[in-house]
Symmetry: C2
Subunit: 734 residues, 2 copies
């Protein structure tokens, strides 16, 4: 590990556009996020996102229908906490600033910046800024600003407060990946003392409230008019701290002295300890490739920053780094981000699954609204658990989210053996999703074959909608049926009456077994590959003359009807199932399938390349795997999708970790054995990473010829560990 | 013909709800329509619909996309022309009224009504009303009101004016069959003289303007304060006339004396002559069944009232009888209404096709927006030619409208041989739609078979959306290809250089021929029937426990995703193709297909039953045919769909005529021969009807054992006439 590997600076990023930098250097802690606005010239009324703090607005349809999602849910982009107002003592305001230094330390969570400020009259000074967000005390954020003379050497007046937003005009966008304007909340500000401002914000429709305090740690100082004298040539520091309350919390801190226990250095310690623990559990190092190391460290850092930790919140598609996709939670969590937490921080994984469990009552209601008489259907996109997808063909129709949640529960249990969680929450989710599939599907007799089929669904690939027997959906539903049987047996092992509270018995399990056996999985005899759905392979290919770069992403250039009628995929779909269930197909079929679907995939989704990387590694094509991985690893740092300004691509951050771990090191778990298979590409001479599985931290080290697994801390695990197909014995080091 | 057959009275209709009566007794002339509002208690600010007079508003999507329709188009529901204000000379206002008599004379177009009016003080009088709309002088409507003493025998003050609408709150509906609130137009009223009011209405966004005059025919009388003295016991008549200008027309009548040439009786003559002509061309009489005769006469009457006659307007889904479906024109015109005009009034049929031709430039643009590089795609629902469908899966995806328009052009030409129209307009429409299909479809190799397929389309059955190879769509597209070849040959007969202006040659025709040959028509070997689409037959059947009456129409009770995943049809789809192309299938296959699709059709669409009736007649099941026909014939008179209040079901009106003519009398035209086949059900002992084909009016008379065709006026036609499969010679009678 080198210093360089853990410091992200201005030199490491694709461009220096303000909105892009705001996202990239955002700080967060699962509870709230602070975008790295320019503190002088940035937008003072936006920049802070609180996980789960959202407003609703009625969804207006051109033509509405029964059972349509009723309310938009939109995360609120609250006032920038970083903004500061500096004037000379003669009243010249520093209005422009140049960001000359940025250093985000991934080992401490500290963001160090430097700006050259200038007045319209040409006076300059230098402003340093250090900021940090609390990682265990997640209500706090602190910043110290230090001022040094430039060509201006006189006195300054510094003022800092939380700005109240004014009504802005809504600008509708046809880019579904952006957010929408939410109704402005009701805001009240109050100066509790000259050094302490209270800011209360309450949404008009959802009636959520949050109290934020901004204060100066120097009790004698003034928020609104603090003099600084630069004439001595020294650096003069002003320290501020912010308390962001819990949603709904009222006055839980003493407004007279909210920050007594929290000096900036205390918050720095808090943050440092948190990150030390993260790296201890989940460090990843690619030998000799500083740039790549930095990228993967950054991804893991942002994954941890984004994840809600309280069981009531989750990971938004853009985390807390931006308001793209309105701050909604998608299947991305379960299928792309949860694996990292399951294998490095089971407590966090449990909290994320708890969030879904809390939405189960709404998921039951949603199933009824969709005309399915039993079971539950989780919302495709949501904050509060209600469906917020305003375009159902690429939203609600993605029923696979049900099986994705079930799959994640199974993976969590597989490695934690956390039967309490299964009995309290997990089994109910798996059972209710299986119940959904049972009532949603239909039998279809073809010759002598009796198939259980799922019609009019949309798979992960949103460039194909409302099809029959989407392979991914069917395969995951089959797994959902199998999982309910497996978990039922696990419960019965603990307690022979353990199923009674769910009102099911052996007869129900037999029904699920029969369904699992008969779920139809479309296969092309002609091409000898699994078919994405019943009709995908019969569609014409996307025209060559529309395949030049300016046509992508297709969703921003073509009507859905145009896209849907071609054989073109936004992302891995059938291949995603192949990644999840490696035992399903022979190496030869995988190769055929990979070659075929790669030819019709645009990767317009940021969820695509990581899966292509993993499968290429498994197939023994490490060069291709490396290529896809590099795009994955650096997606936001190079602004590959060109919309990082709206927020980071969280699913891809998880995907880049998966590409290393599930791809290059061939990691997977099956039947209580943890497998590693060395698929290192020649560009990576050495890969070292850690996992925390049950109580043990493992370190895995791969070189071209060798794979070593050692126990770094905790007991020698009881599960088996296999390397390149052979079971090994673990030793404990250090 | 009896008197009873041509008089619709209050006794003949399903209920006496005001909104229902307003629709049923509406008067119209293709230019404008006057709903039969209660003149005393009805809504004075709505009731008049001008064909093609509409306002736009931006379509708001929950989630918008590229190429989506941009603007709603909504026919404006203008001020009621019938409203009148009556008080006693002591100022007691007659506020309630009971409609005691209504008589709509279908031979004259005169509407005769009687009301008992009452004040809150209990004073009563009787008010008679006679109204008529100009059918050749289509700018005029006139009414005479006559007042007779009741328990009140004193003086009256009568006032009448055109009311200006005020802002009303918009109430969104999930029923897609209703209209929406359009933005209010700018209205100006002006009293040119005490007996003449000028009303100018201009839309804010579309900038359409119309001038309406309301005047008293008695030049000495006053619109706002006309005294009437009832003390003599006699009836006292006041006569009013209204001039509804053309859209965009400015001051084309002399405001000083607008009605000089138009006494009420002049307008009555105009109307009577028009209807005499209609019945001469298209009388239909079912021997001995007065109720049925009345229904079919009514349907024909309303078809004629609704149809735009100027080549710039068309027939709205609700005609001019109500604002349901926002006054939009659909494929209903070509496939359900145009046949009546083609076979009774070729001039009108030409005008309706001319409307489509005028929208061709917009249809070309729409094809480009849908990613199709050549040809034209007509708007699924529109007034001005631009797509106004805000839900594309059941709108724009119904590409079949292109082939429907082409089919109608072909049917028009078949019987008129109007080569001028083909050369000026028709061929261009057929060519551009064929061009569209060519670029829209794709080749698909299955084994040795090379199929030309159409993917991701919606057929006529909107309960199944975005499917591949919808049989109806493919069959009609095939016909579209064949038709362009046929019409090209017809043009070349006239002029060997006739195709040059279109830039096509024999090579292009060969391409179309090859496409026509290879268009894929899905067929189930298993069931030995044509398949509605590639996947329809593999879906589960609609659950029996959701098949009780309260679940219908399904679109008002279920999410589209629920409906789409079942094998359930809103209306005839594959069977509609069977009706259009009887030569396609054997009687046995037709029976299988009919039995099968009847079992999965809800008839939630008013376009369904007429087709089921026709095919049952052809299949030799006259009892079933009669059952469907009776629902068709009386659909609005019995309020079968329960939404006649929103307007008449115009397509069904056309369909009921088709059921008699194409069904019971087995009429169709093929290869310049007009065929009749006697399929009379036992309930109809005698069916007599007229057609005008080319210059000749034919009368066809069917009894159980006999079919006679005679020429009523015009020359003996040159085309062949076949009865029950044998060519006959026509004689002229009278």
């Amino acid at each position: 590990m080198t210093l360089r590997d853990y410091h992200l600076t201005l030199h490491d990023v694709a461009d220096h556009q303000p909105e892009y930098l705001e996202t990239i250097f955002s700080l967060a802690n699962g509870h709230f996020g602070v975008r790295a606005n320019d503190p002088i010239s940035g937008n003072p009324i936006t920049g802070t996102l609180i996980n789960g703090f959202y407003e609703t607005s009625p969804i207006t349809y051109g033509e509405a229908g029964i059972g349509y999602a009723q309310q938009h849910q939109t995360i609120l982009n609250l006032s920038d906490l970083r903004h500061i107002h500096v004037t000379t003592d003669s009243g010249h305001r520093f209005t422009s600033s140049e960001r000359t230094v940025v250093d985000l330390d991934l080992t401490t969570g500290e963001l160090t910046e430097q700006f050259v400020l200038q007045t319209q009259q040409g006076e300059t000074i230098t402003m340093g800024m250090k900021s940090v967000i609390g990682q265990r005390q997640t209500n706090f954020w602190a910043a110290s600003y230090s001022f040094t003379a430039g060509n201006y050497t006189g006195g300054l007046l510094v003022s800092k407060s939380i700005a109240v937003p004014a009504e802005a005009e809504s600008i509708p966008s046809v880019d579904p990946r952006k957010t929408r304007m939410a109704g402005l909340p009701i805001c009240e500000t109050q100066f509790v003392s000259r050094g302490l401002q209270r800011y209360h914000v309450k949404t008009r429709r959802t009636k959520q409230a949050v109290t934020i305090y901004l204060g100066m740690l120097d009790k004698t100082a003034s928020l609104l008019q603090q003099p600084v004298d630069l004439s001595d040539g020294a650096a003069h520091k002003l320290e501020y701290e912010v308390y962001v309350g819990e949603i709904g919390e009222q006055n839980t801190i003493d407004p007279a002295a909210p920050f007594l226990a929290n000096t900036v250095s205390a918050l720095q310690d808090d943050s440092r300890q948190f990150w030390q623990d993260v790296w201890h559990r989940s460090e990843v190092t690619v030998g000799g490739n500083e740039e790549l190391n930095l990228a993967i460290h950054y991804n893991i850092f942002q994954l941890n920053q984004a994840a809600g930790r309280d069981g009531r919140t989750n990971i938004a598609a853009k985390g807390l780094s931006g308001s793209g996709y309105e701050g909604h939670y998608f299947w991305d969590t379960e299928m792309y981000m949860l694996p990292y937490f399951i294998y490095t921080n089971q407590q966090m994984a449990r909290q994320l699954l708890l969030y879904r469990y809390q939405t189960l009552p709404k998921a039951r209601q949603r199933a009824r609204a969709l005309g399915v008489g039993q079971g539950a259907l989780f919302a495709w996109r949501t904050i509060n658990g209600e469906e917020a997808s305003a375009y159902f063909p690429a939203g609600t129709a993605q029923y696979h989210i049900d099986a994705d949640v079930a799959y994640a529960v199974g993976k969590y249990y597989e490695i934690t053996r956390d039967i309490d969680f299964i009995e309290q929450c997990g089994f109910e989710m798996v059972l209710e999703t299986a119940n959904f599939w049972e009532a949603f599907g239909g039998w279809h007799q073809v010759g002598t074959e009796n198939r259980f089929e799922f019609h009019t669904v949309t798979g992960p690939d949103e460039y194909t909608a409302l099809v029959n027997n989407n392979y991914y959906t069917n395969r995951l539903a089959k797994h959902n049926f199998e999982l309910v049987i497996y978990l039922a047996k696990e419960i019965l092992k603990e307690d022979p009456h353990g199923l009674e509270k769910y009102g099911i018995g052996q007869g129900d399990l037999d029904v699920f077994e029969n369904l699992a056996e008969h779920v139809y999985l479309p296969y092309s005899d002609d091409l000898q590959i699994n078919e994405q759905d019943d009709s995908f392979l019969s569609k014409p290919r996307w025209p060559v003359d529309r395949s030049t770069p300016e046509n992508f992403p297709l969703l921003l250039h073509y009507h859905p009807l145009t896209i849907y009628r071609y054989q073109i995929a936004k992302q891995a779909d059938t291949l995603l199932a192949d990644y999840l269930f490696p035992e399903d197909l022979s190496p030869e079929q995988l190769k055929r399938e990979y070659r075929y679907y790669e030819g019709v995939t645009t990767h317009d989704s940021s969820l695509s390349r990581s899966i292509f990387s993993i499968l290429a590694a498994r197939m023994g094509d490490p060069e291709k795997a490396y290529g896809y991985f590099m795009d994955t690893a650096q997606m936001d740092l190079v602004n590959l999708q060109k919309n990082t300004a709206d927020g980071l691509h969280l699913a891809n951050l998880g995907g880049s970790w998966l590409a290393l771990v599930a791809g290059f090191s061939g990691f997977y778990v099956q039947d209580e054995v943890v497998h590693f298979n060395n698929h290192l590409p020649k560009e990576i001479t050495k890969l070292t990473y850690r996992m925390k599985i049950a109580a043990s931290v493992l370190e895995i080290e791969l070189t071209a010829n060798d794979t070593n697994v050692t126990v770094i801390s905790g007991p020698i695990p009881t599960y088996g560990v296999s390397v390149d197909g052979e079971l090994i014995s673990l030793v404990k080091v250090g």
